[in-house]
């Protein structure tokens, strides 16, 4: 006879069974009880939903019926090993495993196993939770993060290519023009030096070759236009926060999202905009790491024909002397990284017809980065896209 745990005295077996039956039937998690030979003794309602079998169908069967083949093969060995050696592989530990539905479909479950010594021998109780939804979210975030990493690498290459092209342009222009002037000089008049002309000509050819490399590099970088589509800003911001918090230690940081109701969608490349926001939020997170009051907030609202997304923090702000070069490639003051993050972010904003700016004293007391993106593709951007490779009236 059982003792009533509430102190109400002894209870009859039928009361105890009814209580157990109610607990098993109500539990959200799947509960399976098996004996030392791995035969199923008990299979609750949640388990019936989880695996597609009724309790009557599985009672007495080996628990392997609920496992994919690779797990099932090892299971008997695990049980036997535990019973002889006492070495625990899962009991009292819990782990993520895969279950197998009646229809053959496999799905991830979080399993914890307990043990009970009963008059009928040792029994094992497994409690299972379907984590398919959580896994799907994790997988989606991991994919988004991988996509971001890849995009960031491409953008870093673009930014570096553009910076190199720009920096080399000036001296290369001077070299080309000097050589062309030298060639003219050497070939003019009665004292023309044909050997010198030939040498300078070779120099001109090589400078032209370098020039074409720069032009190709620039064309390669510039042809990457954003892949625009209608983007809802609020879910995008939320996903960015999830992405940042997934891979970073955010203990003690208070995140806030302040997004106006009924925000219109923007015409943008969601991966690129996400890249900018993740970069800004990560920077904000880093800025508050050393301060006591750690706050990071992201707000979004419409101003005239633009979407304004503001990422502010309660960190130390951006020192005034860093502001002029803050968005230039390779100018970062961080010890790690190439200092391309903000340069890339601004390039992305500008490619979208918008811009990225910094406010030294944001609403959080630290820095605030303001991303401006047009609600729709503007006239200037449309013209630029129509113009394709070249620019209006330009030639190379």
């Amino acid at each position: 006879m059982d003792e009533d745990q509430s102190g109400g005295g002894p209870v009859t077996p039928s009361v105890s069974e009814a209580r157990l039956s109610s607990v098993l039937g109500t539990a959200v998690d799947g509960i399976v009880v098996m004996d030392h030979q791995a035969r199923i003794l008990l299979f609750n309602t949640a388990c019936e939903k989880l695996f597609g079998y009724t309790a009557d169908e599985v009672r007495g069967q080996n628990v392997k019926i609920l496992m994919p083949e690779d797990f099932a093969l090892a299971h008997d060995r695990f049980v036997s090993n535990y019973l002889t050696t006492g070495e625990k592989r899962i009991i009292g530990i819990g782990r993520e495993v895969r279950g197998k539905h009646r229809d053959g479909r496999e799905f991830p479950i979080e399993l914890s196993v307990g043990e009970a010594v009963t008059p009928e021998g040792r029994q094992f109780i497994g409690i299972m939770r379907d984590i398919s939804a959580r896994k799907a979210v994790e997988q989606r975030l991991a994919q988004a993060q991988a996509q971001l990493v890849s995009m960031t690498r491409i953008s870093a290459l673009d930014e570096m290519g553009a910076a190199i092209a720009h920096e080399l342009n000036q001296p290369l222009t001077a070299i080309m023009l000097y050589l062309q002037a030298a060639k003219r000089q050497a070939s003019s008049g009665s004292g023309a030096d044909s050997k010198l002309v030939e040498i300078v000509d070779k120099g001109v050819n090589e400078a032209e070759r370098a020039s074409k490399i720069i032009q190709r590099m620039r064309r390669f970088v510039e042809k990457r236009e954003p892949e625009r589509r209608a983007v809802a800003v609020a879910p995008l911001i939320r996903e960015c926060l999830e992405l940042v918090t997934l891979g970073n230690a955010c203990d003690g940081v208070a995140f806030a999202i302040d997004v106006e109701d009924d925000l219109p969608q923007i015409s943008a490349d969601p991966v690129q905009v996400q890249q900018v926001l993740v970069n800004l939020i990560r920077n904000a997170l880093e800025a508050v790491r050393a301060v006591e009051d750690k706050r990071v907030s992201v707000s979004a609202g419409v101003r005239e024909r633009d979407m304004i997304i503001r990422v502010s923090d309660s960190g130390g702000g951006v020192p005034a002397e860093l502001v002029p070069n803050l968005f230039k490639a390779f100018s970062g003051s961080k010890k790690k990284g190439l200092g391309l993050g903000l340069a890339i972010s601004r390039s992305i904003a500008q490619n979208h017809g918008g811009d990225l700016a910094v406010e030294q004293a944001g609403s959080g007391g630290g820095a605030a980065f303001v991303l401006r993106l047009p609600l729709s593709v503007g006239r200037a951007s449309a013209e630029a896209q129509d113009a394709g490779e070249g620019m209006k009236g330009s030639s190379e």
Binding site: Q180, K392, E396
Partner: protein
Amino acid sequence: MVVQFSDCAVPARCSPGRRGEAQVTVHIVEDDPGVGDALALLLRQIGHEVAIHPDAESLFEDPPPATQDTVIVDLGLPGVSGVQVIRWLSRLKTPPKIIAISGQPRQVIEKMLGDDQPAILLRKPLTEEAIVRHL
């Protein structure tokens, strides 16, 4: 008399500033001394009268370019920008020919120019052929 270079069959061989014609000057507004000097050297060899200005301010200090002149202006000037120079030149009563030059990426150029699109824009690195074609 205004020399119409664009009517020349082979512009590179046109001889600006011929006897009896108005003096033609190519103004170079370029802050990079190497580019400015090399460009001036080449243009002088071709036969042009050249004035170099390291910035917009020094261009403004001199008498405004004449209508037969050409102004080659770098967009990325420090101080008063190349775009402001283009705007100023375009509003002259008899504006000169304007050739904008830049080594910046396309998006940056578009942002700098806005609606002030010059008739001719050459992107660095420059070649003799590209410049002479427009003179």
